[in-house]
């Protein structure tokens, strides 16, 4: 089985982002970029499938500008066999990304498409679902556990009510949640080897994909600060205030 994994270049999760003073966006000047952490988990899962003999080949794909190749190199250092760089310099909406990933999927015909559940920059949490919808294949989002058995996968999903188990026919899109696994540390020799692994570069035109409608961002603002509320003097007042807010 082939496993396809999509990875996205995002602002590193340790960076405290700052909104620009003029509201035109977030300050990305000199900011550290990394692979989206949920994509790392997806990547790790794919490599474990390969190590377990379930997958024969792991292919990483990214959509982005020239620098996104750094994240593909990380994916290759994790253990992907090869990588596809869909070079797009503009921002890509989730639906456009889904169209691109659909085209890559159709070209590669993987048995499983792993992704992170969402990217930590725009927090959209849409691309996996949209890709599987366009492909007309099953989706298993928020995966906390994944078992492959022949042409079926059993996925334990982390939902609000608890842990939901579903079974899907393969191929399917599975999106990784935090507890699916803990990604390994990359080793220096693997990082070196990754430099020599093949990366294929394609454009949206090569894939025959046109951009889908998206949203226009008109303003970016810092989150409203929380303000101090009331001070109570006694426990009775506290209980009354909680009741007043319908919290107890």
């Amino acid at each position: 089985m082939k496993v396809l994994v999509s990875v996205k270049r995002v602002v590193d999760y340790n960076v405290r982002i700052q909104v620009k003073g003029d509201g035109s966006g977030v300050n990305l000047d000199g900011v550290k970029m990394s692979m989206n952490p949920f994509d790392e988990i997806a990547m790790e899962e794919a490599v474990r499938l390969k190590e377990a003999g379930t997958a024969e080949e792991v292919i990483a794909v990214t959509i982005g500008g020239d620098k996104a190749e750094e994240q593909l190199r990380s994916a290759l250092a994790f253990g992907a066999d090869r990588a596809i760089h869909v070079k797009v310099n503009e921002e890509v909406s989730p639906l456009t990304a889904a169209r691109i990933l659909k085209a890559v999927f159709e070209k590669e015909q993987p048995g499983l498409f792993l992704m992170g559940k969402q990217a930590i920059d725009d927090d959209n949490n849409q691309t996996g679902q949209m890709t599987s919808a366009l492909l007309g294949i099953p989706q298993a989002t928020f995966a906390g556990e994944l078992k492959i058995d022949g042409n079926k996968a059993t996925v334990v999903r982390e939902v609000d009510a608890g842990l939901e188990t579903i079974e899907v026919d393969l191929p399917a899109v599975v999106t990784a949640d935090l507890r699916l696994n803990e990604p390994r540390y990359l080793k220096l020799p693997d990082i070196m080897k990754a430099k020599r692994k093949p990366v294929e570069t394609v454009s949206m035109a090569d894939l025959g994909v046109e951009a889908a409608p998206g949203l226009t961002v008109t303003k970016t603002s810092p989150p409203p600060a929380r303000a101090a509320g009331i001070k109570v003097k006694t426990v009775d007042e506290l209980v009354a205030a909680l009741k007043d807010k319908g919290l107890v």
Partner: protein, 555 residues
């Protein structure tokens, strides 16, 4: 130092291994490849990426860069803001100051021809140049120790990953560090490098040198209202909130106008300060309320925060540079020119000189066991030596005579004698020996931060984007765990609580009235001040798990 035979480690071999991707290390790497493109050169860096741990003012003198990459402008080096004006103030109190007439400013403080930059950004650019030449750079991999065999440095071993708090292997995560062996190893860890410190001791490199002296630099990056912003303006000050006449607390402050309405503001406090109640962090916070600073910062927004120790001992504090199989370069060696408050160009030059020496030795078939004597020889013949010689008395005058009188002496030496007064001053008291007992010291009542110009420590550390894996052995090691509470607390009111700019050290009162020394290692911004200033020299800074530490964007 590393005789860890129990662990099987991967080994990679290089011609030259460089520890630290700062200006010295990257310049050395670039120079090596320029001398011989076939050399295998590798740079390890403890930060999560190149530049993540770089913090400097910074005013940059392009002399070394002109030599290393003459067409830096065409290649897009981030030197965007030329210095347009130098203002120097003597601060007489919390609102008083007088501006020093240009005539009396020591020549070393003139910045015509220099640039206001983010050194972090310059290092990222240098990293790209180095990689384009074929240098392998590995961020997120700290060198934990030197490999020393038969007295010869053979490379370094990177830190183990996946150890828990007790140092035990974490299930499925433990990844042993690997050996990076080089015919020569250049140490460019920056000020008070933790391996450099051990090498200096082991090879007795500082036997003939004066003690090194240090300062702590605390810096913030601000975005200020456009109408207050004057790109290229440089403001320096001495005196309040530190001493102007006395010598108990010395230092100086800076405010540089970069591009895009950004200003860098900071305070350098000499670690020779005497009052254990002094808090460099709080001195810096109150400094920003002085009208000289407030006039620019008011209405602005703080973007980033960080701190780093720096060496200021100068020429006579520089230890021996070489040992079998390797060399110290940059601030790991101590090449900062304190008279100019600049160390980037000197660090770069020292890296280039060491690289030349290594390239020459390798060309001659050197296998690395030897001592690169041609490096100190070339140093003596270089403009770097001349520059440091002229500045040799600068810091000492200030230490001995204070900001005003010492400053006057510096004016006389630098402007009238070109830095060549016919004598050399020495300062032999180490920075950890200067504190007076708490019982004889005056407590300092710092004002509460207002949340607009001044802030508390934890919200500041937040803006350094520092992060460490929580479940790992503490990288701040106490030789004797009882000293903080049993000795430092009664004698010096445990100064670590105050000299640490990141809130790492706390003395916590237990419910039963007992006291406990708490180390919040995850807050650490890797400034190394604790390793320097602890009066008992009981704290040893070692590298945490790879990638840990601050994530500075443009510092």
């Amino acid at each position: 130092m590393t005789e860890n035979e129990a662990v099987e480690r991967d080994v990679m071999e290089y011609d030259v291994v460089i520890v630290g991707a700062g200006p010295a290390g990257l310049s050395a790497a670039i120079r090596l490849k320029q001398q011989n493109e076939d050399l295998a050169v590798c740079v390890v860096e403890k930060g999560s990426e190149v530049g993540a741990h770089i913090l400097s003012g910074a005013i940059f003198e392009p002399r070394a860069l002109n030599e290393l990459i003459p067409d830096w402008k065409d290649k897009g080096a981030p030197l965007n803001t030329a210095v347009s004006r130098d203002d120097i103030y003597f601060m007489t109190g919390e609102s008083g100051a007088f501006k020093m007439p240009g005539l009396f400013v020591p020549k070393t403080m003139h910045n015509h021809g220099n640039y206001i930059i983010s050194l972090g950004k310059l290092c990222r650019w240098l990293g790209e140049q180095a990689e384009a030449l074929g240098v392998e750079i590995y961020p997120g991999f700290p060198a934990q120790d030197a490999i020393i065999e038969d007295g010869i440095v053979r490379g370094i071993v990177t830190g183990d990953m996946g150890l828990d708090k007790e140092g035990k292997h974490k299930e499925g995560m433990y990844t042993p560090g690997m050996e990076l062996r080089g015919k020569y190893t250049l140490f460019a860890e920056g000020c008070r490098g933790h391996i450099g410190k051990k090498l200096i001791r082991q090879y007795e490199l500082d036997n003939d040198a004066d003690p090194q002296h240090f300062g702590i630099g605390i810096k913030e990056l601000w975005e200020i209202p456009a109408e207050k912003h004057q790109p290229g303006l440089v403001v320096h000050s001495a005196g309040w909130p530190l001493d102007l006449i006395g010598t108990g607390s010395l230092g100086g402050s800076f405010l540089y106008h970069l591009e895009d309405n950004k200003v860098a503001v900071g305070l350098i406090v000499d670690l020779s300060y005497t009052n254990p109640y002094l808090s460099p962090f709080d001195e810096f916070q109150r400094l920003k309320h002085h009208p000289v600073f407030k006039q620019y910062l008011e209405g602005g927004k703080r973007l980033s925060y960080g701190a780093r120790a720096l060496n200021k001992g100068g020429l006579y504090s520089i230890p021996k540079m070489v040992f079998p199989g390797g060399a110290l370069i940059g601030c790991d060696l101590g090449t900062m020119n304190f008279a100019k408050i600049k160390g980037s160009h000197t660090a770069m030059k020292s890296g280039m000189l060491a690289a030349d020496a290594a390239a020459t030795a390798l060309k001659a078939g050197g296998q690395g066991a030897d001592v690169l004597e041609s490096y100190p020889e070339a140093f003596k013949a270089s403009w770097l030596y001349d520059e440091l010689y002229r500045s040799r008395n600068f810091g000492v005058f200030l230490h001995k005579f204070g900001a005003l009188i010492g400053g006057a002496l510096n004016f006389i030496e630098q402007n009238l004698f070109g830095g060549k007064l016919p004598f050399t001053a020495h300062d032999r008291k180490r920075d950890h020996e200067t504190l007076v007992p708490a019982s004889q010291a005056q407590k300092i009542d710092y004002p509460k931060p207002d949340g607009k110009l001044s802030f508390d420590k934890l919200s500041s550390v937040f803006l350094s984007s520092t992060s460490h894996e929580e479940d790992q052995p503490s990288h701040l090691q106490l030789t004797d765990a009882s000293i903080p509470i049993d000795k430092n607390l009664p004698e010096y009111a445990e100064p670590a609580q105050r000299y640490c700019p990141a809130g790492v050290y706390e003395v916590v009162e237990e419910k039963d009235g007992g006291k406990r020394f708490q180390i919040n290692a995850a807050n650490c911004v890797h400034c190394k001040t604790c390793d320097i200033k602890d009066p008992a020299q009981n704290i040893t800074w070692v590298a945490p798990e790879g990638g840990g530490g601050p994530n500075y964007s443009a510092m």
